[in-house]
Symmetry: C2
Subunit: 360 residues, 2 copies
Amino acid sequence: MLANTQPREEHPPGELMLAEIREQPAALRRLLEAVSELAPVAERLRRAQPSVIRLVGHGTSDNAATYGVYAVGLLCGWTALRDSISLTVYYDAPLDLRGSAVIALSQSGQTPDVVDYVERARARGALTVALTNDPTSPLADTAELVLLLHAGPERAVAATKTYLNSLAALALLAGYTADNGKDLAEGLHATAETLEGAISALEQPVARTAADFAFIGRMFVIGRGLELATAREIALKLQETCRVAADALTATDLAHGPVNAVNPLFPVWTIATGGEATFPAVLEAARRARAAGATLLATGTAASEIEGASYQLETPVAPHPTLAPLLSALPGQLFARALSITKGYDPDKPANLTKVTTVP
Amino acid sequence: MLANTQPREEHPPGELMLAEIREQPAALRRLLEAVSELAPVAERLRRAQPSVIRLVGHGTSDNAATYGVYAVGLLCGWTALRDSISLTVYYDAPLDLRGSAVIALSQSGQTPDVVDYVERARARGALTVALTNDPTSPLADTAELVLLLHAGPERAVAATKTYLNSLAALALLAGYTADNGKDLAEGLHATAETLEGAISALEQPVARTAADFAFIGRMFVIGRGLELATAREIALKLQETCRVAADALTATDLAHGPVNAVNPLFPVWTIATGGEATFPAVLEAARRARAAGATLLATGTAASEIEGASYQLETPVAPHPTLAPLLSALPGQLFARALSITKGYDPDKPANLTKVTTVP
């Protein structure tokens, strides 16, 4: 079978993921250089005045959509939701989509039911926008408007730079739609610079912290508001690369049941972004988790304010409050990569996953 | 401190929860007897023709809201979403709510940020409906319209009959709004009867199955579409009463990362409702979880179709397809109660939880 044997580039475990984590400031700048592509899409959205923005995507893209709900709400005052793909694609529910806009997220642009959803939504009169890294993908072909991530090829299975560029693209789109694009673009330029410093500063401390978690099997990750997306993305990275059953919860979710599953062998990661409207609830959730015996790991700008935390990793304050999640995700990316290697896995190539997920 | 000492009724562990599980058919019938209360609310919704229905609630109420998204979409063709409470209550985002209707769910009617949300939404012009078990609660006072659950007092901390009555009330409300209420009411009458038989038939087999899971620490629960609510509610029951880190996932979520966390010590519970548009995705998710080494527990009408499942517990077919989740939840309730007792806990009084959650 020599004909099928291709030479395969070999990399040390996690090399690709680390390179892509480090590339994130540059990837953000590439998106900013192409910011003029956003203006016509924002203009179409503003003219359409959609009654609702429907965000669809899976995995990391769904986590970016979680951020989009808050970015669109805070910057445009519009209602965005992570729409049910199954209602439209599998149940064929008779939803009236004429007043809606759709933002469909897929790095590869190949996720079959996302493409299918966009095709149906467009046929039913929704304004459809694809947010993808591949201009030649089926998703880009199917949507009426295309916004490119400009993240460059992503080779590690666990997405990092495409996640950050998805958040940035959503923030810019919401900002330009609300006629406030310049503020967001300036904020993102500054964020890219802040991120650069944070990567250098955090790589080693995060890796040392991760080593202490070598034998965990589960974790709760607590965020709220804008940082719910961060909690979900960190949990997903841990599932993908470390085989840890990590579950993301809002601070309030925790009190309504899950706190009872916590015990001293059960670490709880708290995303502590200070100055946020939602911070008191996060503080209270951490207090309850600690009272139940959990080992606390706190990250974020206010990590030091989480009482009883065994691990505190501070991140820099974002230049614009809506952009905080771009900096908060970084410790999760670095932690997941380091822990995966500690456990003897290769975070670039998780055993049961492929880069492009094409199953239903 | 004798003055503060109250005599406390003592019950064997799980007695209250079992009584309330068994009471569910009667509780459903009480709701049906009061069905005339629904008509004026449905009429107001129909006249309002809201651009979107905003569902809010925490814990079990949030799981009922997950069902509401599908019930409203399938029966009315309207878009419903589980709205972000923090956007309105904590961030005070400038959302235009005039074209919206709100359905706020709280068994006790006391959840502070749900009451706060309703107060704000009503002031901003939304049509507000409270769905609660307590007509004298702050939530009932705050909303413009009130729908009572008629479940009777719920004393076990883990909600069971109020969950089923919440689903039933949402289905009836969506049905009457779509001028199809009689069908749903008849379906619910038949469901109460089917449920009665299912409780007798399943109590013992589910308890025997649960005993085999005495040493698990984590679990994935897979559902899709209408049954996503079931997966979320079963996961919550396991967290609340068994201290198991159970995580609910859609069938598609699983493939986009979490499947890599599965191993032979990691059971996966699959909600297999046959004849559903979403069943092929559930079958495929189960196949992938099994391939990754998971022990499969399958429940639902098509439990026997899940290949390689070590445990299969069939549930009866629902008299109306939209009502399937009322029967699918039952094995989860019985399983959580039995496993909790096996582990030496009292499912009626989880260590870190109270019946009414009043933290932020």
